[in-house]
């Protein structure tokens, strides 16, 4: 999403890319949905030798990707995932894009139709700074990783950590792995998705599979 505009926020995003890469088996087939200007894909190709493909909404991001030799098509996560065949990827990655989709639940289901596993990262709206921003300033939260004013944010479907795990339950998705990051970028050790994680976790990364699959 908005790769170019977001470029300044890279420092903290890098951490979640590193963690996503750690979850990916070398040599696997990967689809990065909302791949921005392709930095994660390029990293996965380099570090994990993946056969990587990307889908990106912004034409500018796509053009940068293709000029850099990545296989990326311009398209929309909400409408274009239907074209991908079942089980055609080992991993379908959605990195900080879920909150910008129109139908996050449908997108999640699509990811797990296309990929054997889905890796999803998103900012936790239950993070205490978001809560206090709203509670004490009475304004829609703007933090480092959520740095758009309400009227022009592409992020239209925020969720908390607990919202997300509840949706996974509802959709019958199995959480295979998860990493909750504190605002410092450090991995939180008490990541049981409980009240503590939901309050102090600023970013979440989940690896999902279909339950029973």
């Amino acid at each position: 999403m908005n790769g170019i505009e977001n470029a300044t926020g890279r420092r903290d995003i890098r951490v979640d890319w590193q963690l996503i890469a750690d979850m990916v088996e070398p040599g696997s087939r990967v689809l990065d949905v909302g791949c921005d200007d392709g930095q994660l894909l390029a990293h996965l190709k380099e570090a994990k030798n993946v056969d990587g493909r990307g889908l990106e909404l912004s034409q500018q991001g796509v053009n940068i990707c293709v000029a850099n030799g990545l296989s990326v098509v311009q398209g929309n996560a909400d409408t274009d995932l239907v074209y991908y065949p079942d089980g055609s990827f080992d991993y379908a990655i959605l990195s900080k894009t879920l909150q910008a989709t129109h139908q996050p639940h449908v997108v999640l289901q699509q990811l797990l139709r296309i990929g054997k596993r889905a890796i999803v990262s998103f900012p936790n709206f239950g993070y205490w700074r978001c809560r206090s921003y709203l509670a004490f300033r009475g304004r829609m939260p703007m933090t480092n990783s959520l740095d758009f004013p309400w009227y022009e944010t592409p992020n239209i479907h925020f969720c908390t950590l607990r919202d997300f795990t509840a949706l996974c339950d509802e959709l019958g998705l199995k959480i295979e792995q998860s990493v909750i990051l504190a605002a410092s970028g450090k991995i939180m050790t008490r990541s049981d998705y409980g009240m503590y994680a939901n309050l102090f976790g600023s970013d979440c990364i989940f690896m999902l599979s279909k339950a029973g699959a």
Binding site: R53, Q59, V62, N63, C65, V66, A67, N68, G69, L70, S71, V72, V73, Q74, G75, D80, Y83, Y84, P85, S88
Partner: protein, 381 residues
Amino acid sequence: MSISPPHNDTHNVILAKETPMPLDCGTTIGAFNMAYCTYGELNAEKSNAILVCHALTGDQYAASRQPVTGKDGWWNMMIGPGKVLDTDKYFVVCSNVLGGCMGTTGPRDIDPATGKPYGLNFPIITIGDMVRAQALLQDYLEIESWFCVIGGSMGGMQTLQWASAYPERVFSAIPIACAARHSAQNIAFHEVGRQAVMADPSWQGGDYYASDAKPRAGLAVARMAAHVTYLSEAALHRKFGRNLQDRENLTYGFDADFQVESYLRYQGINFVDRFDANSYLYITRAMDYFDLVEDHGGTLAKAFEGSNTRFCSVSFSSDWLFPTSENRKIVHALIAAAANVSFVEVETDKGHDAFLLETPEMFKTIQGFLQSSAKSRGLGE
């Protein structure tokens, strides 16, 4: 960009000498001539060959001086040392299509059965036939697989046909500003052009070669109508607006008062010097008949099933002849076929013609795609 044409060789070869080549219309064509140009050197492994497919009114002189017009090749800015199709690295081949009029056998050539020009006795050819003929050229050049097949417009159709009919002979494919099937609107425009040619009394049922009168007026009108479809409203406005041509006031007559009229007349008149009217009929027909969807039982993805070819599709935002939506259908089919595909829509107001013009974003896209393809093909720097 430099205007000096790079080193080139023009060649002619007779193909289908022993075995006639089957045509989609049900007949065959015996020994036929294929005219082509090459640029750069074929490497020892024969793994660096790029086939450039030309558009409706293009020819094999992609990066050489066109002998009739004396102008630079139509893709001079793309092909040459250090350019996107880098002739220091790649061996670039461009052949005149079957049915054409620049050396490859077409309706203006002598029918061995009668000793006279074919005219309308030339068999109806298709995009599939053009590609089949190019495959014979590939055999002749002993190139097992093209490193890349690339082309815009009808050249893009040939590129898709190549990837679909001969996937193992195409390592990568770059279809630009094209469609998997010709739309009703495009067929309609072609029909206007053909009717203009056939309404010209000098056309004489296609049998005009021995006569002094050639269907110049008809072909010029066909070209003028078609040329409008290659541009965009914005580009026409930017270039000409309502500016008058060499005059201060309207003449209250039917002279070319407006610059845009003068420009179109110039396009029309110039075209007839270098193009054969019957070839125009045959080649527009070939485009009309192109339908990869129908050829694959209504599912375009089947055209690319199991393909290992790497694809890069490019469209232009202001192209209304082969709009982005048509190119996107190809991309969706490639995705459905689990093919390796990239797709870029280039933002430009230049219309369909953008692929023939200085379009930096297209250059960057193709260059990046070719470099990564070269890497996976093991083509050294």
